[in-house]
Symmetry: C2
Subunit: 315 residues, 2 copies
């Protein structure tokens, strides 16, 4: 197995590119793919200040590292979600990474700063934990980016993530979500620009990137996500990818090239600025209600007894 | 397990309807679903003469039976594809079904009537056998319907078939195919109307329909189709259906309701009659070339040594 670039011994095969790479040229491939994604979708401009959503996992540490390598002024934001020992370990990984490099890492703790946490919110709302978790993260990353004057929020969504979400949205033909499932969402209506620079890299590649770069990331997956539908979609696509390498990439980029635009009118406020959007009475975030969904969640969980997780991450 | 309708002992559960049925009410459910599909998509008008594409399998015999029960003047057309003992057995099943009921069954034999067969055509064209097979069937059913003055060609495509084809077309975002993946295609440009009355029934339901109606169908699947991508798509969707019953139905009917129209302009000749369509010099079928794809296939295989299949259906 030889590196496609230098013919030296290869350390990884990338089947959908039908090629093998040595460590040096694999790392360069990753940088090039991120630079290409940023350029192709006009995600960032040179010198942009970027707030990176950092969880301590492979994708968020890789995207932070890669954005810095490409010259962007990228700071991290870690949100403590209160998911027992998983959250403890993820915070440790994020802090260790930032400290080692001397890169600024902001922190918000759901329990300390807002009086809630994901397990308690899930119990009170009687919905899957991923729902309260996603809502909280979107809200807090958006707000921190606006308040900190950042040009964009960057997340570590990779090709596998995006293909799986696209598959779920397509299975139900959720036109509103399909209209917004883009690698870049421009700033508007008080929301910051959002970018996904890793969309050209598969999950296995971001893991290899970390290993070969000496990045210590938290390998554990969130225990509360086990068994969710998203993982089922990933498995289904993995089975197809195994038979036909490149299927995921063709699915996601084919969508962007030939289908996404056909759903554009299904996006909320697609045709105009959104007259229905006001400001949250409590925090000032854009919302269609008197108070935004996050502040509503915080209100609902305010009086609830905090849920303690078992070692398996179950309430 | 009790029948949802009469509370008598049930013989089948239909998970996506979250209900069980006795034989009588299951058969009625199938009839109702076919009548509903015909009505919902304006497939047929009362008294229409229909040519049913008959293979001897569960779906084609079920659709023929159901169309007759619903009062349509439905005749069968069986095409001998020359796929060794599979074709022999499928022809036997189709003939026995028709003879028992005294219903007219037309027959075309690829080898006897056109000097070719699917295994030989696949070898000569160096493509998967399903390609030459589909091409031949579409052409011959269309031509027979036009020449016989039928109002429509009906095929036995069920919900599982349509969902799997839709999944394949979506994975590659084949906009032209997505534009035409409808349960009814109106007659135009010299092509007959085509209808799929079983789209509201799952594969397992058409099989149960046959068993409970005493229809002897050929259980074997085509040996040349083994391992094709379509079967992989079915498996992937089956895994999702097992976790979330109703997923396939939501996928297919959600597409029809909220997405198909968004691809309409990608259909060939979507905006106008097709000035590029002429008539095949050899058979008169509509085509964009001098001779149609079927006559071209026949020409190419004319001089080839016929391929003999092994017992496993492999050349």
């Amino acid at each position: 197995m030889k590196c496609r670039v230098c013919r030296g011994p290869a350390v990884i095969d990338v089947r959908r590119h039908n090629a093998n790479f040595c460590a040096e040229h694999f790392l360069r491939l990753c940088r090039d793919q991120v630079a290409k994604a940023i350029d192709e979708f006009s995600m960032l401009r040179p010198g942009d200040r970027v707030l990176v959503a950092v969880s301590g996992g492979k994708d968020s540490l890789a995207v932070w590292d890669l954005l810095r390598q490409l010259g962007y002024e990228a700071d991290g934001l870690y949100i403590g979600l209160g998911i027992g020992s998983y959250s403890d370990a993820s915070g440790d990984a994020a802090r260790a990474f930032a400290t080692e490099r001397g890169w600024p890492l902001r922190e918000i703790d759901l329990r300390a700063d807002h009086g809630t946490d994901v397990p308690t919110a899930a119990k009170v709302t009687r919905r899957v934990p991923c729902s309260a978790c996603g809502l909280s993260k979107r809200h807090l990353f958006d707000r921190a980016a606006i308040e900190g004057g950042y040009d964009a929020v960057a997340t570590g969504h990779n090709l596998d993530d995006e293909a799986a979400v696209l598959f779920g949205n397509t299975l139900r033909w959720e036109t509103e979500y399909l209209a917004r499932q883009l690698p870049v969402l421009e700033a508007r209506d008080g929301f910051p620009r959002k970018v996904k620079p890793l969309v050209r890299l598969a999950e296995r590649e971001t893991a290899a990137y970390c290993v070969l770069s000496g990045i210590d990331y938290l390998v554990d997956e969130c225990p509360m996500a086990a068994g969710n539908k998203h993982l089922g979609y990933k498995e289904a696509l993995n089975a197809i990818e195994a038979t036909s390498p490149g299927s995921k990439q063709a699915f996601y980029f084919g969508f962007l090239a030939r289908a996404a635009g056909r759903f554009a009118d299904a996006a909320p406020g697609a045709d105009d600025a959104r007259p229905d959007l006001g400001r949250c009475r409590s925090c000032g975030a854009p919302t269609t209600n008197e108070i935004c969904a996050f502040c509503h969640l915080v209100d609902r969980t305010a009086g609830a007894e905090p849920v303690t997780l078992t070692v398996k991450g179950r309430p």
